[in-house]
Symmetry: C2
Subunit: 210 residues, 2 copies
């Protein structure tokens, strides 16, 4: 057993303290295991000073300059984000997503030209995340203030995503807008034979005319 | 197609410039694809200021304070590393490895109590890496100056690792020391760094003459 003062990486005298500290910090990041953290650390050590500086500057910049869009709650640099301040976007449609990455994914498709609302999470009683921890108050305020005729709920098709969608549906319908959600079905390019039972059931129930 | 000024991540107005720059920097790291870079970027954005500072400080620290051990060429903070300056280590055995991570892997097993020599690479004609690009001169100088009776070559069991081992063998044998290499207990084509401790221990104990 190695002592915890060595960071648990078994380095002992083989590991200079700054290297051990860097590995420890990298290991905290999501998806970075101990081996990846080691690899990344030695990559950073060999990296030219200038490139390492670009990385640390980029990290510092997001901590210093970013905030939330006062309208859609997406992460942005000025107060109102590029999508919300674009007059060409359809102001009557609002797409509700879990996180900023979902906005990116939908923007890549080009299928939606309305506005977004980022919840920054999903209702998850097991993880101690309730409605008050999400940007739902801000969503309700927008429904009252903006000319929204349709709210498209685009949460993930998971237990938490479905629960959040149902919760929002009940909350929003009395306020007037049409409330829809993304179709459930077989993934394009997928194989029916390998689809899980629930996906296949939803695809069947939601069968559409040609 | 998105313009390259948007970093190629398809963000368009959905992506604040500091976020795009951070994703771009993270994407340069080994093993971090575009999706992982996005995930990491948003994780860093949400991270408490203090923790992000710890990470950037850890990166800056390795750039500022580290150098090479003047004896074994491992990455270290003081001039001579902890292993080389430990009088309890066997001064007559030298284990030659490709990179610092290999020292960590061998130290974890505890099977070797001698000293190391880090080449910082392998001979690789395709990758334009010749003997002069490695710390081989420093190795030869040590054989002349230190009481080395055995050199254990622990390069990876890959084409480049074998070629480097053969090259060193030819170079070292005329100088006097016994030259051995790790037993072929290691799976051919594998990577020493990822071997489990027992395999590595067996391979070390069964080291053979050329």
């Amino acid at each position: 057993m190695t002592s915890s003062s060595q960071g648990g990486y078994g380095g002992g005298p083989a590991l200079a303290p700054p290297v051990a500290r860097l590995i420890e910090q990298l290991h905290k990041l999501p998806g970075i295991g101990p081996k990846s953290a080691q690899r990344l650390a030695y990559y950073l050590i060999r990296m030219p000073e200038r490139e390492a500086r670009q990385l640390t500057d980029a990290i510092s910049a997001v901590k210093d300059s970013l905030g939330f869009c006062s309208r859609c709650q997406n992460i942005t640099e000025p107060d109102v984000c590029g999508i919300c301040s674009d007059p060409a976007r359809d102001q009557t449609r609002l797409c509700v997503v879990q996180e900023p990455l979902d906005v990116l994914a939908l923007e890549r498709t080009g299928v939606f030209r309305g506005l977004y609302h980022v919840l920054h999470g999903l209702i998850d009683p097991m993880g101690n995340v309730g409605p008050d921890d999400l940007r739902i108050r801000e969503l309700l305020r927008r429904i009252g203030e903006e000319p929204v005729s349709e709210v498209i709920i685009a949460t993930n098709p998971t237990v938490e995503g479905e629960a959040t969608a149902m919760y929002l549906h009940q909350l929003l319908v009395p306020l007037g807008p049409r409330v829809t959600r993304l179709a459930r079905g077989l993934p394009v390019g997928g194989d029916l034979e390998y689809a899980d039972d629930l996906t296949l059931t939803r695809a069947f129930e939601g069968r559409q005319d040609f």
